[in-house]
Symmetry: C2
Subunit: 344 residues, 2 copies
């Protein structure tokens, strides 16, 4: 059975959400979960939920320290050698788990996974991918959303291969459409980075459809979108900001008259459903693609359901053999692009 190492001390609601998610996952999916954290705390939390948890495929592994959201990622990774995320990553490195999931400090989780688990052959830098909803109803994967603020054209190309392999495995599509986030569809539109990346992306063994724009992200006309981590982070946070603004404006407008108030009341259910559809946790959090094994980062505010979903997606990831695909495609591509260079 596949075993997931779950950082039990990561999120805002740790270890409650982690324990709930782990229990729900092992009851619903063919998976074992190793909870990593302060043993006495995690065991006590498990006991609260189900005194017979020892009969389930759940283990607890002790880690004496944990990294908080307020910790500087760089410093915490350097100094807290026995942090829960570090110990969880070691389980992956040592073959005792297939991947790690954490709702903790994103910077610290990424740095630890890269350092401890290592990087898939052919990958220069792992990248953080996130899944967003679209008007077409299909999901779209955006990558990188914050692991690498300054990128080379080659890194964007590798993100395309990684994002595409991930999309195929998780969303079961044969030939996802891959786009480069730019400021116009025409090839000459873009900044120095995207213009340099475009010809490289065209040489990849993926269904590359060219430049796409910000307004295409949520349309469903492209499945995997690559960008540098600075732009990806701005896209995500801008999207949150727009959604918040619209929510507030509608609320204001809908309480401005008794008739609109009645409308607001009746529309309440629609808003709740909308919120669920926009909820990224449905997609199991963000994978750091390109690390050996797996690393999924879920939102700090993740509840038990979000953790359970992350475990489900991690299982799909493993079944889809994403890392093997990434490695073989990047190797193949490196070989194919190496030949003409030698011939020149």
């Amino acid at each position: 059975m596949l075993t997931i190492a779950l950082d039990a001390m990561g999120g805002d609601h740790a270890p409650k959400a982690e324990v709930e998610g782990a229990l729900a996952a092992v009851r619903n999916y063919p998976v074992a979960v190793t909870l990593v954290g302060r043993e006495e705390i995690v065991r006590a939390e498990l006991d609260k939920h189900d005194r017979r948890w020892a009969k389930l495929p759940i283990q607890v592994v002790h880690a004496s320290e944990f990294i908080t959201m307020e910790d500087s990622a760089a410093k915490a990774v350097r100094t807290k050698k026995d942090s829960s995320i570090r110990v969880a990553s070691r389980l992956v490195r040592d073959g005792k788990a297939i991947g790690v999931i954490s709702a903790g400090n994103t910077g610290a989780v990424m740095a630890t996974a890269k350092m401890v688990q290592g990087v898939v052959q052919g990958v220069d830098r792992p990248g953080l991918a996130t899944t967003l909803p679209t008007k077409a109803g299909t999901p779209v994967v955006l990558m990188d959303v914050g692991a690498n603020v300054d990128c080379t054209p080659r890194m964007l190309a590798q993100f395309a291969v990684m994002g595409e392999a991930y999309y195929r495995a998780i969303h079961h599509t044969d030939s996802p459409r891959v786009g480069l986030l730019s400021i116009g569809e025409e090839d000459h539109k873009g900044n120095e980075l995207t213009r340099a990346a475009l010809p490289i992306l065209k040489s990849l063994p993926v269904n590359f459809i060219g430049n796409v724009e910000g307004r295409d992200i949520y349309k469903g006309t492209v499945d995997v979108i690559v960008c540098d981590g600075f732009v990806g982070n701005v896209v995500l946070k801008t999207s949150e900001g727009v959604a918040d603004l619209i929510k507030l404006m509608l609320r204001e407008e809908m309480t401005s008259s008794p008739l609109a108030q009645a409308g607001a009341l009746l529309a309440k259910g629609a808003f709740a459903k909308l919120k669920r559809r926009l909820d990224h946790t449905e997609y199991g959090g963000a994978p750091l693609l390109g690390v050996k094994g797996m690393c999924f980062i879920t939102h700090g505010s993740s509840n038990g359901n979000a953790i359970k979903n992350a475990i489900r997606v991690a299982v799909e990831f493993a079944k889809g053999d994403v890392n093997r695909r990434i490695e073989s495609e990047l190797t193949e591509w490196a070989e194919s692009t190496a030949t003409p260079t030698r011939a020149e």
Copy 2:
């Protein structure tokens, strides 16, 4: 009386929207409008609206050519020497108008204004600014949104000075808060460009509050946000995309049951009001800050009301003496920063 040169052939609804906007503006504001375009077409359109328009402060200046949205901006600017936007810009250069307004091809308008009208002293590159609504109800100016895809730290600093002067003049605030769009509030967060720009922005004679994030754009906690034109364009188009997605999702959810349908019907007025609040044309389009005189670019789909609003904002711009402020502040700043450099 101030005279505005209005490109009568620019937008999707030209010259109808332009003529409507011009007529409404001269009737409501202390302003004269010179409509630039194919004389017979513009005069015929004016006649449709008001045969006595000759008594109003409206003039028509002939231009034999015009640039379409499909034209390559670079090529059209080079070859169409008698385009309506070119002739309008010449009126500004020759002192016959204080500024130009166009709903036409953004790239062509920007290139023409820079070339024909020239650049304010102290400005390396003009930048396109746009005004967005916020949760606080105050507007926020985002700059650059597409004039310069690759920027230097010094350009971002100049955008801050230009955007701030514009904000003070148009929104009548003494000390607008200026922020740098980045991926975290801490000084060390950001990419190469923003990290290099941060210390320069701190040296400016503006109320600089440091890094801001994508989610801060629509909050109303910052008044002027600077970024490079690539990121600014992605922000704008992503925002449009999110708004479209939410609209569709709410519509779907609200027709899913008879009760929700009733809610949707009652909420309809709220949506219409919301749309108006999100409508950028309320703010008069986007000024290309840093060109001599003025250059306002309105949306291609601008109607008469949008054109009228652009003329109103242009008048405010002139009264606020924005260019003189930009010139004196950039000169002052250049002098103040030059001293320590010489002392080193």
